[in-house]
Symmetry: C2
Subunit: 224 residues, 2 copies
DNA sequence: GTATGTGAAACCGTTCACAGCA
DNA sequence: TGCTGTGAACGGTTTCACATAC
Protein backbone atom coordinates (compact mmCIF):
# COMPACT_ATOMS: atom_id res chain seq x y z
CA UNK A 1 0.00 0.00 0.00
CA UNK A 2 1.72 3.15 -1.21
CA UNK A 3 0.97 6.11 0.97
CA UNK A 4 1.03 8.52 -1.97
CA UNK A 5 -1.49 11.32 -2.31
CA UNK A 6 -4.78 9.74 -3.17
CA UNK A 7 -7.24 11.92 -5.08
CA UNK A 8 -10.48 12.39 -3.26
CA UNK A 9 -12.45 11.41 -6.35
CA UNK A 10 -10.69 8.05 -6.38
CA UNK A 11 -12.15 7.32 -2.97
CA UNK A 12 -15.59 8.25 -4.20
CA UNK A 13 -15.18 5.97 -7.18
CA UNK A 14 -14.10 3.10 -4.96
CA UNK A 15 -17.58 3.17 -3.43
CA UNK A 16 -19.00 3.03 -6.91
CA UNK A 17 -16.92 -0.03 -7.72
CA UNK A 18 -18.04 -1.69 -4.51
CA UNK A 19 -21.66 -1.17 -5.49
CA UNK A 20 -21.20 -2.66 -8.93
CA UNK A 21 -19.22 -5.56 -7.52
CA UNK A 22 -22.03 -6.29 -5.06
CA UNK A 23 -24.45 -6.49 -7.95
CA UNK A 24 -22.14 -8.73 -9.96
CA UNK A 25 -21.59 -10.96 -6.95
CA UNK A 26 -25.33 -11.30 -6.44
CA UNK A 27 -25.65 -12.34 -10.05
CA UNK A 28 -23.04 -15.02 -9.47
CA UNK A 29 -20.32 -13.43 -11.60
CA UNK A 30 -16.94 -14.54 -10.28
CA UNK A 31 -14.43 -12.67 -12.41
CA UNK A 32 -14.59 -9.22 -13.94
CA UNK A 33 -12.17 -7.26 -16.12
CA UNK A 34 -11.46 -3.58 -15.70
CA UNK A 35 -13.10 -3.04 -19.09
CA UNK A 36 -16.34 -4.67 -18.03
CA UNK A 37 -16.43 -2.94 -14.68
CA UNK A 38 -15.62 0.38 -16.30
CA UNK A 39 -18.48 -0.12 -18.71
CA UNK A 40 -20.89 -0.73 -15.85
CA UNK A 41 -19.72 2.33 -13.95
CA UNK A 42 -19.52 4.46 -17.06
CA UNK A 43 -15.85 5.38 -16.79
CA UNK A 44 -12.44 4.63 -18.29
CA UNK A 45 -10.85 1.20 -17.57
CA UNK A 46 -7.43 2.72 -16.93
CA UNK A 47 -9.06 4.86 -14.29
CA UNK A 48 -10.16 1.83 -12.35
CA UNK A 49 -6.76 0.22 -12.55
CA UNK A 50 -5.11 3.45 -11.39
CA UNK A 51 -7.54 3.88 -8.53
CA UNK A 52 -6.89 0.35 -7.33
CA UNK A 53 -3.14 0.74 -7.79
CA UNK A 54 -3.10 3.31 -4.98
CA UNK A 55 -3.89 0.53 -2.57
CA UNK A 56 -2.23 -2.56 -3.96
CA UNK A 57 -2.40 -5.18 -6.66
CA UNK A 58 -5.71 -6.95 -6.59
CA UNK A 59 -5.97 -8.38 -10.09
CA UNK A 60 -4.54 -11.27 -12.04
CA UNK A 61 -2.91 -10.43 -15.37
CA UNK A 62 -4.58 -12.04 -18.30
CA UNK A 63 -7.62 -12.84 -16.17
CA UNK A 64 -9.10 -9.87 -14.39
CA UNK A 65 -10.34 -9.38 -10.84
CA UNK A 66 -12.02 -11.96 -8.66
CA UNK A 67 -15.26 -10.26 -7.71
CA UNK A 68 -15.52 -11.48 -4.12
CA UNK A 69 -11.88 -10.83 -3.43
CA UNK A 70 -11.85 -7.31 -4.86
CA UNK A 71 -15.06 -6.45 -3.06
CA UNK A 72 -13.52 -7.64 0.19
CA UNK A 73 -10.43 -5.51 -0.35
CA UNK A 74 -12.36 -2.38 -1.25
CA UNK A 75 -14.60 -2.84 1.75
CA UNK A 76 -11.56 -3.06 3.96
CA UNK A 77 -10.04 0.07 2.42
CA UNK A 78 -13.18 2.13 2.88
CA UNK A 79 -13.88 0.80 6.33
CA UNK A 80 -17.10 -0.84 5.21
CA UNK A 81 -16.15 -4.02 7.03
CA UNK A 82 -17.49 -2.89 10.36
CA UNK A 83 -20.46 -1.08 11.92
CA UNK A 84 -20.30 2.67 12.43
CA UNK A 85 -22.29 4.51 15.02
CA UNK A 86 -23.99 7.72 13.99
CA UNK A 87 -25.57 10.50 15.98
CA UNK A 88 -28.17 12.76 14.42
CA UNK A 89 -28.61 16.43 15.20
CA UNK A 90 -31.94 17.90 14.11
CA UNK A 91 -35.02 15.70 14.09
CA UNK A 92 -37.07 17.61 11.52
CA UNK A 93 -38.49 16.25 8.31
CA UNK A 94 -35.14 15.28 6.87
CA UNK A 95 -33.74 14.04 10.16
CA UNK A 96 -36.70 11.73 10.73
CA UNK A 97 -36.42 10.38 7.22
CA UNK A 98 -32.76 9.59 7.79
CA UNK A 99 -33.51 7.81 11.06
CA UNK A 100 -36.07 5.65 9.33
CA UNK A 101 -34.04 5.15 6.16
CA UNK A 102 -33.72 1.44 5.63
CA UNK A 103 -30.54 1.58 3.53
CA UNK A 104 -28.46 2.65 6.49
CA UNK A 105 -28.87 -0.50 8.51
CA UNK A 106 -27.93 -2.74 5.63
CA UNK A 107 -24.83 -0.73 4.83
CA UNK A 108 -23.07 -0.68 8.13
CA UNK A 109 -24.43 2.44 9.77
CA UNK A 110 -26.56 2.66 12.87
CA UNK A 111 -28.06 5.75 14.41
CA UNK A 112 -27.58 5.29 18.12
CA UNK A 113 -28.70 8.75 19.22
CA UNK A 114 -30.67 11.77 18.02
CA UNK A 115 -30.62 15.31 19.35
CA UNK A 116 -32.92 18.26 19.00
CA UNK A 117 -33.25 21.77 20.32
CA UNK A 118 -37.06 21.84 20.54
CA UNK A 119 -38.41 20.65 23.92
CA UNK A 120 -41.46 19.35 22.09
CA UNK A 121 -39.40 16.74 20.31
CA UNK A 122 -37.40 15.47 23.27
CA UNK A 123 -38.41 11.97 24.22
CA UNK A 124 -40.02 11.12 20.89
CA UNK A 125 -39.05 7.70 19.68
CA UNK A 126 -38.21 7.35 16.00
CA UNK A 127 -37.18 3.94 14.81
CA UNK A 128 -35.02 2.64 17.62
CA UNK A 129 -33.73 5.89 19.03
CA UNK A 130 -35.18 8.37 21.47
CA UNK A 131 -34.67 12.07 20.86
CA UNK A 132 -32.36 13.60 23.47
CA UNK A 133 -31.72 17.24 24.35
CA UNK A 134 -28.57 18.96 23.10
CA UNK A 135 -27.14 19.04 26.61
CA UNK A 136 -26.93 15.25 26.55
CA UNK A 137 -24.64 15.24 23.53
CA UNK A 138 -21.30 15.18 25.35
CA UNK A 139 -22.37 12.30 27.50
CA UNK A 140 -24.10 10.23 24.84
CA UNK A 141 -21.35 10.58 22.25
CA UNK A 142 -18.91 9.06 24.72
CA UNK A 143 -21.33 6.56 26.20
CA UNK A 144 -22.58 5.20 22.89
CA UNK A 145 -19.30 5.51 21.03
CA UNK A 146 -20.57 7.82 18.32
CA UNK A 147 -17.91 8.43 15.68
CA UNK A 148 -19.85 10.35 13.07
CA UNK A 149 -22.32 13.18 13.56
CA UNK A 150 -25.04 13.86 11.02
CA UNK A 151 -26.31 17.42 10.81
CA UNK A 152 -29.86 17.97 9.59
CA UNK A 153 -30.75 21.30 11.16
CA UNK A 154 -31.66 24.68 9.67
CA UNK A 155 -28.68 26.35 7.98
CA UNK A 156 -28.51 29.06 10.64
CA UNK A 157 -27.89 26.43 13.34
CA UNK A 158 -25.57 24.14 11.44
CA UNK A 159 -22.31 25.70 12.63
CA UNK A 160 -23.46 25.55 16.23
CA UNK A 161 -24.39 21.89 15.81
CA UNK A 162 -20.99 21.20 14.28
CA UNK A 163 -19.18 22.95 17.13
CA UNK A 164 -21.07 20.88 19.66
CA UNK A 165 -20.36 17.64 17.84
CA UNK A 166 -16.67 18.49 17.61
CA UNK A 167 -16.54 19.34 21.29
CA UNK A 168 -18.27 16.07 22.10
CA UNK A 169 -15.53 14.25 20.22
CA UNK A 170 -16.84 12.94 16.91
CA UNK A 171 -14.30 12.13 14.16
CA UNK A 172 -16.42 13.13 11.20
CA UNK A 173 -19.50 15.07 10.20
CA UNK A 174 -22.00 14.44 7.44
CA UNK A 175 -23.60 17.79 6.81
CA UNK A 176 -27.00 18.08 5.13
CA UNK A 177 -27.35 21.79 5.83
CA UNK A 178 -26.53 24.16 2.97
CA UNK A 179 -23.66 25.75 4.86
CA UNK A 180 -19.89 25.68 4.65
CA UNK A 181 -18.87 24.43 8.08
CA UNK A 182 -15.69 25.49 9.84
CA UNK A 183 -14.19 22.59 11.73
CA UNK A 184 -10.74 21.71 13.08
CA UNK A 185 -8.56 19.80 10.64
CA UNK A 186 -8.78 16.55 12.55
CA UNK A 187 -12.55 16.38 12.08
CA UNK A 188 -13.58 15.43 8.56
CA UNK A 189 -16.60 17.02 6.96
CA UNK A 190 -18.58 15.78 3.99
CA UNK A 191 -21.44 17.81 2.59
CA UNK A 192 -24.64 16.48 1.11
CA UNK A 193 -25.92 19.62 -0.46
CA UNK A 194 -28.88 18.94 -2.69
CA UNK A 195 -29.75 22.56 -3.15
CA UNK A 196 -26.32 22.97 -4.76
CA UNK A 197 -26.90 20.02 -7.08
CA UNK A 198 -30.33 21.32 -7.98
CA UNK A 199 -28.80 24.66 -8.88
CA UNK A 200 -26.34 22.95 -11.19
CA UNK A 201 -29.30 21.29 -12.89
CA UNK A 202 -31.03 24.61 -13.26
CA UNK A 203 -27.93 26.12 -14.82
CA UNK A 204 -27.49 23.23 -17.24
CA UNK A 205 -31.06 23.43 -18.43
CA UNK A 206 -31.01 27.20 -18.63
CA UNK A 207 -27.77 27.37 -20.59
CA UNK A 208 -28.80 24.57 -22.92
CA UNK A 209 -31.94 26.47 -23.78
CA UNK A 210 -30.21 29.77 -24.41
CA UNK A 211 -27.65 27.96 -26.56
CA UNK A 212 -30.42 26.34 -28.60
CA UNK A 213 -32.15 29.64 -28.96
CA UNK A 214 -28.98 31.30 -30.12
CA UNK A 215 -28.25 28.62 -32.73
CA UNK A 216 -31.85 28.33 -33.86
CA UNK A 217 -32.51 31.99 -34.42
CA UNK A 218 -30.16 32.93 -37.25
CA UNK A 219 -31.43 36.52 -37.55
CA UNK A 220 -29.06 38.96 -35.81
CA UNK A 221 -29.84 39.53 -32.16
CA UNK A 222 -30.13 43.24 -31.77
CA UNK A 223 -30.00 43.25 -28.01
CA UNK A 224 -26.46 42.09 -27.44
CA UNK B 1 -20.20 36.29 -22.20
CA UNK B 2 -17.58 33.98 -23.61
CA UNK B 3 -18.97 30.63 -24.58
CA UNK B 4 -15.78 28.80 -23.59
CA UNK B 5 -15.85 25.48 -21.78
CA UNK B 6 -16.97 26.15 -18.27
CA UNK B 7 -15.77 23.69 -15.62
CA UNK B 8 -18.60 22.00 -13.81
CA UNK B 9 -17.05 22.86 -10.45
CA UNK B 10 -17.20 26.53 -11.34
CA UNK B 11 -20.96 26.26 -11.61
CA UNK B 12 -21.14 24.57 -8.24
CA UNK B 13 -19.03 27.34 -6.75
CA UNK B 14 -21.27 30.02 -8.21
CA UNK B 15 -24.05 28.68 -6.00
CA UNK B 16 -21.72 28.96 -3.07
CA UNK B 17 -20.97 32.56 -3.92
CA UNK B 18 -24.67 33.29 -4.24
CA UNK B 19 -25.26 31.94 -0.75
CA UNK B 20 -22.52 34.02 0.80
CA UNK B 21 -23.67 37.11 -1.06
CA UNK B 22 -27.20 36.60 0.27
CA UNK B 23 -25.83 36.54 3.79
CA UNK B 24 -23.72 39.63 3.19
CA UNK B 25 -26.68 41.41 1.66
CA UNK B 26 -28.83 40.59 4.68
CA UNK B 27 -26.14 42.06 6.90
CA UNK B 28 -26.26 45.24 4.87
CA UNK B 29 -22.82 44.85 3.29
CA UNK B 30 -22.80 46.68 -0.04
CA UNK B 31 -19.37 45.97 -1.48
CA UNK B 32 -17.18 42.89 -1.21
CA UNK B 33 -13.72 42.07 -2.55
CA UNK B 34 -12.76 38.72 -4.02
CA UNK B 35 -10.41 38.29 -1.06
CA UNK B 36 -13.19 38.73 1.48
CA UNK B 37 -15.64 36.54 -0.40
CA UNK B 38 -12.97 33.89 -0.88
CA UNK B 39 -12.28 33.92 2.82
CA UNK B 40 -15.95 33.36 3.59
CA UNK B 41 -16.23 30.50 1.11
CA UNK B 42 -12.88 29.04 2.08
CA UNK B 43 -11.27 29.19 -1.36
CA UNK B 44 -8.70 31.13 -3.38
CA UNK B 45 -9.57 34.71 -4.47
CA UNK B 46 -8.22 34.17 -7.98
CA UNK B 47 -10.59 31.24 -8.27
CA UNK B 48 -13.56 33.49 -7.75
CA UNK B 49 -12.36 36.02 -10.27
CA UNK B 50 -11.72 33.26 -12.81
CA UNK B 51 -15.12 31.71 -12.23
CA UNK B 52 -16.85 35.03 -12.73
CA UNK B 53 -14.72 35.83 -15.78
CA UNK B 54 -16.40 32.97 -17.65
CA UNK B 55 -19.58 34.99 -17.65
CA UNK B 56 -18.50 38.61 -17.82
CA UNK B 57 -16.98 41.44 -15.88
CA UNK B 58 -18.98 42.17 -12.78
CA UNK B 59 -16.48 43.99 -10.58
CA UNK B 60 -14.97 47.43 -10.33
CA UNK B 61 -11.19 47.64 -10.22
CA UNK B 62 -9.87 49.16 -7.07
CA UNK B 63 -13.24 48.71 -5.41
CA UNK B 64 -14.58 45.18 -5.54
CA UNK B 65 -18.03 43.78 -6.33
CA UNK B 66 -21.34 45.38 -5.49
CA UNK B 67 -23.09 42.69 -3.50
CA UNK B 68 -26.62 43.20 -4.79
CA UNK B 69 -25.46 43.52 -8.37
CA UNK B 70 -23.24 40.44 -8.33
CA UNK B 71 -25.94 38.41 -6.62
CA UNK B 72 -28.40 39.45 -9.30
CA UNK B 73 -26.01 38.43 -12.07
CA UNK B 74 -25.19 35.05 -10.54
CA UNK B 75 -28.88 34.37 -10.00
CA UNK B 76 -29.52 35.09 -13.65
CA UNK B 77 -26.69 32.83 -14.75
CA UNK B 78 -27.86 29.90 -12.64
CA UNK B 79 -31.50 30.40 -13.49
CA UNK B 80 -32.38 31.20 -9.91
CA UNK B 81 -34.41 34.18 -11.04
CA UNK B 82 -37.54 32.17 -11.69
CA UNK B 83 -39.66 29.38 -10.21
CA UNK B 84 -38.99 25.78 -11.23
CA UNK B 85 -41.57 23.06 -11.07
CA UNK B 86 -40.53 19.72 -9.66
CA UNK B 87 -42.15 16.32 -9.75
CA UNK B 88 -41.30 13.71 -7.13
CA UNK B 89 -41.14 9.98 -7.74
CA UNK B 90 -41.23 7.86 -4.61
CA UNK B 91 -43.14 9.07 -1.58
CA UNK B 92 -41.28 7.11 1.09
CA UNK B 93 -39.51 8.55 4.11
CA UNK B 94 -37.11 10.62 2.08
CA UNK B 95 -39.68 11.66 -0.51
CA UNK B 96 -42.08 12.92 2.14
CA UNK B 97 -39.31 14.86 3.83
CA UNK B 98 -38.45 16.53 0.54
CA UNK B 99 -42.07 17.46 -0.10
CA UNK B 100 -42.28 19.07 3.30
CA UNK B 101 -38.83 20.64 3.16
CA UNK B 102 -39.27 24.33 3.77
CA UNK B 103 -36.06 25.41 2.03
CA UNK B 104 -37.42 24.51 -1.35
CA UNK B 105 -40.20 27.05 -1.43
CA UNK B 106 -37.90 29.89 -0.45
CA UNK B 107 -35.36 28.97 -3.08
CA UNK B 108 -37.43 28.89 -6.19
CA UNK B 109 -38.55 25.27 -6.35
CA UNK B 110 -42.06 23.97 -6.06
CA UNK B 111 -43.16 20.38 -6.04
CA UNK B 112 -46.28 20.33 -8.17
CA UNK B 113 -46.76 16.57 -8.31
CA UNK B 114 -45.74 13.36 -6.56
CA UNK B 115 -45.89 9.81 -7.84
CA UNK B 116 -45.76 6.42 -6.19
CA UNK B 117 -46.08 2.80 -7.15
CA UNK B 118 -47.87 1.64 -4.00
CA UNK B 119 -51.68 1.86 -4.28
CA UNK B 120 -51.80 2.53 -0.54
CA UNK B 121 -50.08 5.85 -1.00
CA UNK B 122 -52.12 7.14 -3.93
CA UNK B 123 -54.37 10.00 -2.94
CA UNK B 124 -52.41 10.91 0.19
CA UNK B 125 -51.91 14.61 0.55
CA UNK B 126 -48.46 15.77 1.66
CA UNK B 127 -47.96 19.47 1.91
CA UNK B 128 -49.80 20.85 -1.08
CA UNK B 129 -49.57 17.90 -3.44
CA UNK B 130 -51.60 14.75 -3.77
CA UNK B 131 -49.82 11.51 -4.55
CA UNK B 132 -50.65 10.27 -8.04
CA UNK B 133 -50.13 6.86 -9.64
CA UNK B 134 -47.21 6.34 -12.02
CA UNK B 135 -49.60 6.09 -14.96
CA UNK B 136 -50.52 9.72 -14.48
CA UNK B 137 -46.94 10.87 -14.99
CA UNK B 138 -47.07 11.54 -18.71
CA UNK B 139 -50.19 13.62 -18.35
CA UNK B 140 -49.21 15.54 -15.22
CA UNK B 141 -45.71 16.41 -16.41
CA UNK B 142 -47.22 18.11 -19.43
CA UNK B 143 -50.21 19.56 -17.63
CA UNK B 144 -48.26 21.03 -14.74
CA UNK B 145 -45.18 21.96 -16.73
CA UNK B 146 -42.76 19.87 -14.72
CA UNK B 147 -39.19 20.47 -15.82
CA UNK B 148 -37.22 18.54 -13.22
CA UNK B 149 -37.92 15.09 -11.82
CA UNK B 150 -36.73 14.10 -8.37
CA UNK B 151 -36.11 10.41 -7.78
CA UNK B 152 -36.44 9.09 -4.23
CA UNK B 153 -37.25 5.43 -4.79
CA UNK B 154 -35.42 2.25 -3.84
CA UNK B 155 -32.22 1.75 -5.87
CA UNK B 156 -33.71 -1.18 -7.77
CA UNK B 157 -36.47 1.03 -9.16
CA UNK B 158 -34.47 4.16 -9.85
CA UNK B 159 -33.66 3.39 -13.48
CA UNK B 160 -37.30 2.64 -14.21
CA UNK B 161 -38.35 5.89 -12.60
CA UNK B 162 -35.76 7.75 -14.67
CA UNK B 163 -36.96 6.14 -17.89
CA UNK B 164 -40.51 7.15 -17.14
CA UNK B 165 -39.54 10.71 -16.32
CA UNK B 166 -37.53 10.98 -19.52
CA UNK B 167 -40.41 9.61 -21.54
CA UNK B 168 -42.73 12.09 -19.91
CA UNK B 169 -40.45 14.87 -21.05
CA UNK B 170 -38.52 16.29 -18.10
CA UNK B 171 -35.31 18.22 -18.82
CA UNK B 172 -33.39 17.17 -15.75
CA UNK B 173 -33.31 14.64 -12.95
CA UNK B 174 -32.18 14.99 -9.35
CA UNK B 175 -31.40 11.48 -8.23
CA UNK B 176 -31.34 10.54 -4.55
CA UNK B 177 -31.06 6.80 -5.22
CA UNK B 178 -27.59 5.24 -4.94
CA UNK B 179 -27.55 4.24 -8.59
CA UNK B 180 -25.77 5.37 -11.71
CA UNK B 181 -28.65 6.30 -14.03
CA UNK B 182 -28.47 5.91 -17.79
CA UNK B 183 -30.26 8.74 -19.50
CA UNK B 184 -30.19 10.30 -22.96
CA UNK B 185 -27.68 13.13 -23.35
CA UNK B 186 -30.33 15.84 -23.53
CA UNK B 187 -31.58 15.04 -20.04
CA UNK B 188 -29.25 16.23 -17.30
CA UNK B 189 -28.74 14.14 -14.21
CA UNK B 190 -27.38 15.24 -10.86
CA UNK B 191 -26.84 12.76 -8.07
CA UNK B 192 -27.31 13.34 -4.37
CA UNK B 193 -25.65 10.25 -3.03
CA UNK B 194 -25.20 10.49 0.71
CA UNK B 195 -24.18 6.89 1.09
CA UNK B 196 -21.20 7.73 -1.13
CA UNK B 197 -20.31 10.74 0.97
CA UNK B 198 -20.63 8.74 4.14
CA UNK B 199 -18.26 6.15 2.72
CA UNK B 200 -15.72 8.85 1.99
CA UNK B 201 -15.98 9.89 5.62
CA UNK B 202 -15.48 6.33 6.74
CA UNK B 203 -12.40 6.05 4.58
CA UNK B 204 -10.93 9.31 5.85
CA UNK B 205 -11.38 8.34 9.48
CA UNK B 206 -10.12 4.82 8.90
CA UNK B 207 -7.02 5.90 7.03
CA UNK B 208 -6.24 8.65 9.50
CA UNK B 209 -6.30 6.14 12.31
CA UNK B 210 -4.07 3.63 10.58
CA UNK B 211 -1.65 6.42 9.73
CA UNK B 212 -1.56 7.52 13.35
CA UNK B 213 -1.00 4.00 14.46
CA UNK B 214 1.83 3.58 12.01
CA UNK B 215 3.57 6.80 13.07
CA UNK B 216 2.98 6.26 16.77
CA UNK B 217 4.47 2.80 16.89
CA UNK B 218 8.12 3.44 16.11
CA UNK B 219 9.18 -0.22 16.55
CA UNK B 220 9.66 -1.89 13.15
CA UNK B 221 6.51 -3.41 11.75
CA UNK B 222 7.32 -6.97 11.01
CA UNK B 223 4.23 -7.69 8.99
CA UNK B 224 4.86 -5.44 5.98
C1' DG C 1 -3.17 52.87 -3.36
C1' DT C 2 -6.33 49.12 -4.18
C1' DA C 3 -8.73 45.37 -6.30
C1' DT C 4 -10.13 43.40 -10.70
C1' DG C 5 -9.20 40.74 -14.99
C1' DT C 6 -6.14 37.64 -17.24
C1' DG C 7 -2.01 35.41 -19.54
C1' DA C 8 1.43 32.18 -17.89
C1' DA C 9 2.99 28.66 -14.73
C1' DA C 10 2.21 25.05 -11.62
C1' DC C 11 -0.39 21.41 -10.29
C1' DC C 12 -3.33 17.50 -10.47
C1' DG C 13 -6.15 13.96 -12.44
C1' DT C 14 -7.13 11.30 -16.61
C1' DT C 15 -5.99 8.69 -20.54
C1' DC C 16 -2.75 6.39 -23.45
C1' DA C 17 0.22 2.84 -24.61
C1' DC C 18 2.95 -0.73 -23.59
C1' DA C 19 5.83 -3.71 -20.60
C1' DG C 20 5.07 -7.59 -17.63
C1' DC C 21 2.95 -11.62 -16.33
C1' DA C 22 -0.66 -15.54 -16.04
C1' DT D 1 -3.19 -14.53 -26.15
C1' DG D 2 -5.41 -11.45 -22.71
C1' DC D 3 -5.58 -8.35 -19.06
C1' DT D 4 -3.28 -6.05 -15.30
C1' DG D 5 -0.04 -2.52 -13.58
C1' DT D 6 2.33 1.69 -14.59
C1' DG D 7 5.47 5.38 -16.64
C1' DA D 8 4.65 9.00 -19.86
C1' DA D 9 1.72 12.17 -22.36
C1' DC D 10 -2.22 14.82 -22.18
C1' DG D 11 -5.81 17.94 -20.78
C1' DG D 12 -7.98 20.68 -17.55
C1' DT D 13 -8.19 23.38 -13.14
C1' DT D 14 -5.96 26.14 -9.77
C1' DT D 15 -2.77 29.48 -8.47
C1' DC D 16 0.47 33.09 -9.34
C1' DA D 17 1.78 37.52 -10.77
C1' DC D 18 1.14 41.59 -13.00
C1' DA D 19 -0.95 44.85 -16.26
C1' DT D 20 -5.05 47.54 -16.02
C1' DA D 21 -8.46 50.47 -14.33
C1' DC D 22 -10.73 53.09 -10.64
Amino acid sequence: MKSAKIPSVSITRLSLYARSLELLDEKGVEVVSSVRLADICGINPAQIRKDLAYFGQFGVRGVGYYVKELLFEIRKILGLDREWRLGLVGVGNLGCALLRHAQFESHGYTFVAAFDKKPKRIGMKIGDVEVAPLQAMNRLVKEKGIEIGVIAVMPAWAQKAADMLVRAGVCGILNFAPTQLRCPANVFVENVDFSLRLNVLRYRITSQRSRRQRTRSKPPQRLA
